[in-house]
């Protein structure tokens, strides 16, 4: 299948007093139309910067897309003018953010903010835009949409605001929705509703979704394929089922093992220790030689200290950047 978006060798740097630091370093992946790609990793791994780079929203300076391509329908987003990019942003590719409290403008009603996007990208009268907003509110599961379009953000709960954000993002029927930690600020019962909404809308509209999260549970529940990022690199890329059944990279395996599973607890009883990953994520300004994970890795071998492992196909449909991958069970 022709990918909808193909990222090739993306490198995004931030300039510090002592020189540039690559927050995203040589990242390549593709998103097929109508699929959900999960991007998972811990803070500072580069998952959000990857998304912001695709949207061309990296603040310059101190940020800078140093090299790479982002081919959307074959057009390189990274070489477009700001004006051309504005026509794609919000209409062909939309993004929602973690914090629905600050992403909405407090002095406009929720309906105004949806209508603004509709009128910006499409010909529509005020009346039509308002009608469309009400319809979108209904689709994203906001109760009493005729009344809620006139509500201000502070009159809504966190979950409702995130639904408004989704309505804004979907206003122009984008082909790709980038969702950056869309449920992290929400309570677990509200999170379940938002994830279900994203999945339903994705299926109805045959849209592609790039879902960025730190929660592997969210990935397992929602995604088709997944990228695992660590210290600016993709360390593993696989189908969701494969990744959870047989992770190839020791970091992925470590993450999975460090989360207590309620199902396992019910079967085995507790009193087992969690398998924690020792140490902490290295600073991007003082990366170890060779593999970036080797100092914390239980499977590290001699070569790991000298040769940075490339992302390679290890098993069918499963890529990992590792010299000594976890064997298949």
């Amino acid at each position: 299948m022709q990918p909808l978006l193909e990222i090739r060798n993306l490198r995004t740097e931030f300039l510090f007093e002592d020189g540039p630091v690559a927050a995203v370093d040589d990242v390549s992946f593709a998103i097929e139309p109508g699929t959900i790609l999960g991007v998972v990793g811990e803070s500072g791994c580069g998952k959000s910067v990857t998304a912001l780079s695709i949207m061309r929203l990296v603040q310059e300076p101190p940020g800078r897309i140093a090299s790479g391509h982002a081919l959307f329908h074959g057009t390189d987003l990274l070489s477009l003018s700001e004006r051309q990019m504005q026509r794609i942003r919000g209409s062909k590719i939309s993004m929602i953010f973690q914090d629905p409290m600050t992403a909405l403008n407090p002095v406009f009603t929720a309906g105004d903010q949806v209508a603004e996007v509709i009128r910006l990208h499409q010909r529509a009268s005020r009346r039509e835009a308002r009608q469309r907003s009400i319809e979108l509110f209904r689709q994203v599961g906001i109760p009493a949409p005729e009344e809620r379009v006139d509500a201000y953000p502070h009159q809504m709960s966190g979950g409702m605001r995130q639904r408004v954000m989704i309505a804004i993002a979907l206003a122009c029927n984008p082909e790709l929705l980038i969702a950056d930690e869309p449920t992290t600020a929400l309570d677990v019962t509200v999170q379940a509703g938002i994830l279900e909404l994203i999945r339903r809308l994705q299926a109805e509209r045959k849209m592609a979704v790039m879902l960025i999260t730190h929660d592997l549970g969210v990935v397992a529940e929602t995604c088709d394929r997944v990228l695992v990022m660590y210290a600016g690199r993709i360390v593993e890329k696989a189908q969701v089922d494969t990744l959870f059944a047989a992770p190839a990279h020791p970091y992925t395996e470590g993450l999975l093992k460090s989360i207590p599973s309620i199902e396992a607890a019910a079967e085995e009883g507790s009193a087992r220790r969690l398998d924690a990953i020792p140490g902490a994520v290295p600073s991007l300004r003082a990366l170890p030689s060779g593999c970036r994970f080797r100092e914390r890795c239980p499977r590290a071998i001699e070569i790991c200290a000298s040769v940075d492992p490339p992302l390679e196909l290890k098993r069918p449909e499963q890529w990992a950047a590792c010299h000594n991958p976890v064997p298949a069970p």
């Binding site: 979950g159 309570d187 379940a192 730190h214 592997l216 397992a220 019910a266 009883g269």
Partner: protein, 342 residues
């Protein structure tokens, strides 16, 4: 007053902490004159006990009152009503001065390891401060104890002379734990101790807390919204909704057979770590209501899939489901005797 039997050790020995009918109400003030318009029942008639060496998990969504309850138990917030007994001593009428020796024995670990450490103090000063305040150690003895704590926490000894900003989130949380442990407490209120940390660091801190508990026979009130971690660390778990405990049971029992519809929804909302087991979940309608204007009757009724007339009119008491398992829902078989409202 029919006290509920507690499972495990607490059934035989005296609980270390016993909280009865604890309420914390805050006035809601409006306008520039601060006219009192109503009250928020942040914590409303809560009963709980914690045995020595036991972990009681406390879960609930934001605004349910779990942190307020934790702070009220430590008397960091003055309760409006109710009794707190710690090691058989009633804390209700005690003055600040009388409380001081008890405060040493009850400590807190905060959520945010960035905001809860004084940036102008060295790690050694932060950990040693409570020892000085409680006049437990000074001079060389103080230093020896600080270094011993650093060792125990897996922190380098040179941390003593360094400042909090030089450490990562996980290390800062270790410093926070060392500070709490310095005065040899018996009860620790851990208020979301891992939610600000990265996934790979969370497990390290959880293991540390579990190891320390085994070694020092600590009791924990473990407050968290991550239900997986709570299940892992707790002996018993209490579920809060809008200021009230709606279910309390042995951890295994609660996760296997939740009785309150809210607990059921909460557990069903946890994403499963197995893509092959994606499931139909209970998605709750509506949102957590405002605690300023709580619904009538059972506070959960507007979102409850099983609500009927009685739920709108009466507040359900905690019914006993099984020994040590209570749930505040009219659907719990009425054959079981209701716990006496006090």
């Amino acid at each position: 007053m029919g006290r509920l039997p507690q499972p495990g050790a607490s059934a035989v020995s005296e609980p270390l902490l016993e909280v009865r009918d604890l309420s914390v109400h805050f006035p809601v003030r409006v306008g520039i004159w601060g006219r009192v318009r109503g009250t928020v029942k942040a914590v409303d008639q809560v009963d709980l006990q914690i045995a020595r060496g036991e972990t009681l998990g406390l879960v609930g969504e934001s605004g349910c009152g779990k942190s307020t309850l934790g702070r009220a138990i430590l008397k960091l917030i003055q309760p409006t009503a109710g009794r707190i007994r710690f090691d058989r001593q009633d804390l209700t009428g005690l003055s600040q001065r009388q409380l001081r020796p008890i405060r040493r024995r009850m400590q807190i670990i905060f959520q945010d390891p960035y905001a809860s450490l004084n940036p102008r103090m060295t790690v050694g000063q932060i950990i040693g401060e409570a020892l000085t305040i409680h006049r437990l150690a000074s001079g060389a003895e103080l230093r020896r104890r600080v270094l011993a704590l650093l060792d125990k926490m897996g922190l380098p000894r040179d941390a003593e002379k360094r400042y909090p900003h030089e450490f990562s989130g996980g290390q800062r949380q270790r410093i926070g734990i060392a500070r709490s442990l310095a005065v040899n407490p018996e009860l620790i209120v851990a208020d979301e101790p891992i939610s600000a940390l990265d996934v790979s660091i969370q497990a390290q801190i959880v293991n540390l807390l579990v190891d320390l508990q085994r070694e020092l026979h600590l009791s924990y009130l473990f407050i968290a919204h991550d239900l997986r971690i709570v299940e892992y660390v707790s002996n018993r778990v209490a579920v809060m909704y809008l200021g009230k405990i709606v279910e309390l049971a042995d951890a295994t029992q609660l996760y296997r057979a939740p009785k309150h519809p809210y607990t059921q929804a909460l557990l069903s909302a946890i994403p499963v770590l197995d893509p092959a087991r994606r499931r139909q979940r209970i998605v709750l309608g509506g949102e957590v209501p405002s605690p300023i204007t709580p619904p009538s009757g059972c506070a959960f009724h507007p979102r409850c899939p099983y609500a009927f007339d009685r739920c709108r009119q009466e507040t359900p008491p905690l019914y006993q489901v099984a020994p040590g398992h209570t749930a505040a829902c009219f659907l719990v078989p009425e054959a079981t005797a209701p716990k006496q409202a006090s």
